[in-house]
Symmetry: C2
């Protein structure tokens, strides 16, 4: 019988993944459940990474997994994450332990006729690998620029740039986009054939992240207008 | 000096957590970085869990962490997740391995004067523990109802309910809400004192998830109007 449709699960481990550029599938990256939802090409993966604002970073310490939301940025086939040099998590990750970084975009709620086939429309990317410390100063600054530009394009040229002290206080980690998979669900519900006759409304409620009017910092010195990238924010 | 503000990190491991009802902090759940952002009370945690639509589940297989997006539902002080009985991930989790479930709500982009203090406004919950298989039939059906109602309140009464075959094909796992922490950032940017004089606009771009008009399944039999919970969806 059909598998439940209401799940967002990527395939079970060791499952998903792929290799960038041409995304070769590996045993642990091959999407096994609902394999037609799997994708292994940069044309699918990069736009998801570029549209997302936060990722969820997974790593284990003494057998306990931790999943932590944080910002990120993609530069070519590298994903950067960053944090306080004082953060134990960042220090842990910098020791080149295995990590999983997941980015999920939620596009809609899928209301099927059957409870079993309720689902969500989504686009997600799962990256496996080992993060390494960025020690090169130029690469580090480039990554910090990418973090800022990833959130708001055009912002970097306007801000007070990092001082040497701030640079030292920031740990930047890079993760190669080599073992990556995407999983995407879109479109209407998929019910069992015999259920289509049921007098139950079915369809999709689309969800969109909408930016509101910018809220100016009350401590702003007078006469500075919000820049266009804040007033008309879009991704 | 100040710690970077642009991070969403929960504290480094072993850090966050707490105990429900009155949320006692444990060594690995205490929010250590930016501790004023930590919260350990059900009044903070439950509304975040109830507003979120997806969680990110973290678990390790042979040292490799995996972070997978999925739906969930809270019933009292229990979090339920579910999946195909055929899913290796679900089977892995059902073996009572250690798991981390994280729910993150993104509320806005925080544009500070300094690149270093760029951040996001967010509310997140991190749950640590061991998931166990729900074997009791009544509890399982109650959980399935909770999954559907969590996505769209009012939907369960309208849908074709799960068959025995579907019930068997679905694995439901429960995770006690005992070791939990929340982390919240809200409000305007926080710049260094000397930067407030800079002629740089600063503020917050609020982000909201907005439901669109429901898209009726093209295969719907005629004359069924979209129910109010779809036409005027809200959380």
């Amino acid at each position: 019988m059909a598998q439940p449709d209401w799940l967002l699960w990527h395939p079970g481990p060791p499952a998903y993944a792929c290799r960038m550029s041409e995304f070769k599938r590996t045993e642990r990256t091959q999407v096994k459940r609902l394999p037609d939802r799997g994708a292994y090409d940069t044309e699918t993966v990069f736009p998801i990474l570029d549209e997302g604002l936060i990722c969820h970073v997974g790593f284990s310490v003494e057998g306990q997994p931790f999943v932590i939301p944080t910002g990120y940025a993609r530069v070519g086939d590298t994903l950067y994450i960053h944090g306080s040099a004082a953060s134990r998590m960042l220090r842990t990750l910098a020791e080149s332990i295995q990590v999983c970084v997941t980015v999920t975009l939620l596009d809609g709620l899928v209301l099927a006729r059957a409870a079993f086939h309720h689902s969500m429309n989504y686009r997600s990317v799962v990256i496996l690998g080992r993060a390494t410390l960025v020690e090169d100063r130029a690469e580090k600054i480039k990554a910090l620029e990418a973090f800022t530009e990833h959130i708001v394009r055009g912002r970097w040229k306007d801000v007070r740039l990092p001082t040497e002290t701030e640079l030292k206080a920031t740990t930047v980690l890079s993760l190669p986009l080599t073992e990556v998979s995407a999983k995407v669900r879109s479109g209407p519900p998929k019910d069992d054939a015999e259920d289509y006759e049921l007098p139950i409304w079915a369809g999709v409620v689309p969800l969109t992240i909408v930016p509101g009017a910018p809220i100016t910092d009350p401590r702003l010195i007078s006469r500075i207008e919000a820049p266009a990238y804040a007033k008309k924010y879009s991704r």
